[in-house]
């Protein structure tokens, strides 16, 4: 047991050396800063500051939506676009003030929210469609 712990400690320390090198010089190292916003993305804090009505769109799979979602959010994803778009069209109000739509998927990693937002803009001509930076990961705390 003592030998296993000592060997583990040596291995943990040895692995630190290339880790530090990669952290400083690797051309594809991750940033210690939170990712900057991409075009069309908004933070939750920004959304909370808006005065316009907001329509939340959940772009995750139906089973994830059914398990938990932001109250009032409507499900819309590429799996069943034709079946899901109608409630979204009915809920959208042309204004003034025009309803702003905010689309979210699981996290900063997923692309579903960007794809849904893009398709919404292309098919409807609405400009006020945004993607929530960080997705459900930043909303989940509020839905406990």
């Amino acid at each position: 047991m003592h030998r296993t712990l000592l060997q583990s400690l040596i291995l943990l320390v040895v692995a630190l050396i290339p880790t530090v090198v990669a952290g400083v010089w690797h051309p594809n190292r991750p940033s210690w800063q939170i990712d900057a916003l991409e075009e069309g993305e908004v933070t939750l804090a920004e959304v909370r500051g808006w005065l316009q009505p907001i329509l939340w769109i959940d772009a995750r799979p139906a089973e994830a939506y059914e398990a938990r979602h932001l109250p009032g959010a409507l499900l819309l994803n590429e799996d069943d676009w034709e079946g899901l778009i109608e409630p979204v069209l009915l809920a959208w109000q042309p204004g003034p003030p025009e309803t702003r739509m905010v689309v979210y998927c699981d996290s900063a990693l997923c692309d579903a929210s960007r794809e849904v937002a893009l398709r919404l803009r292309e098919e409807t001509g609405w400009e006020e469609v945004y993607v929530l930076h960080g997705g459900w990961a930043v909303l989940a705390e509020e839905v406990k």
Partner: protein, 145 residues
């Protein structure tokens, strides 16, 4: 005969971790994105994990293959596998549609059963290694691997 099996098991499991670690080490930013999907760590923890874990896997994998510090490597890799399995089950339970991140960032999203089964099989393999190490140590108390 037992020594031959021990060597084969060490090379197979060690080789697997060297391979998996190398894929992650080549693209630590992509691996960090995969870790973000699990929603388990603060950002600094995700970055540190993405930089450190691939090299820990490689170092322990090499240790297993060459048969030096293999008790420690077996212990660390077993602990890592338990963490991976818990993270995968947790993501599955929360219905997250994410990539496993097991081999960096290029794995299909939302697939959990196969990575969990594979990690469990590796854990069983490492447990067998530990038992074989213990049996050999009892026989030859002065060996240092």
């Amino acid at each position: 005969m037992k020594i031959r099996w021990l060597l084969l098991l060490r090379v197979v499991i060690g080789g697997f971790f060297v391979w998996a670690g190398t894929l992650k080490a080549l693209d630590p930013a992509g691996f960090a994105d995969a870790i973000v999907g699990y929603q388990l760590l603060p950002h600094a923890g995700e970055v540190a994990f993405a930089l450190y874990l691939p090299w820990l896997e490689i170092v322990c994998g090499v240790a297993l293959i060459v048969g030096r510090l293999s008790h420690g490597a077996t212990g660390i890799l077993s602990a890592l596998l338990v963490v991976f399995i818990v993270a995968l089950v947790s993501a599955w339970w929360r219905v997250l549609d994410i990539e496993c991140g097991c081999f960096g960032s290029s794995v299909e999203a939302g697939v959990y059963l196969w990575p969990i089964a594979r990690n469990t099989a590796l854990l069983v393999g490492l447990s067998v290694l530990m038992l074989m190490h213990q049996a050999i140590d009892k026989k030859e108390p002065n060996t240092s691997a």
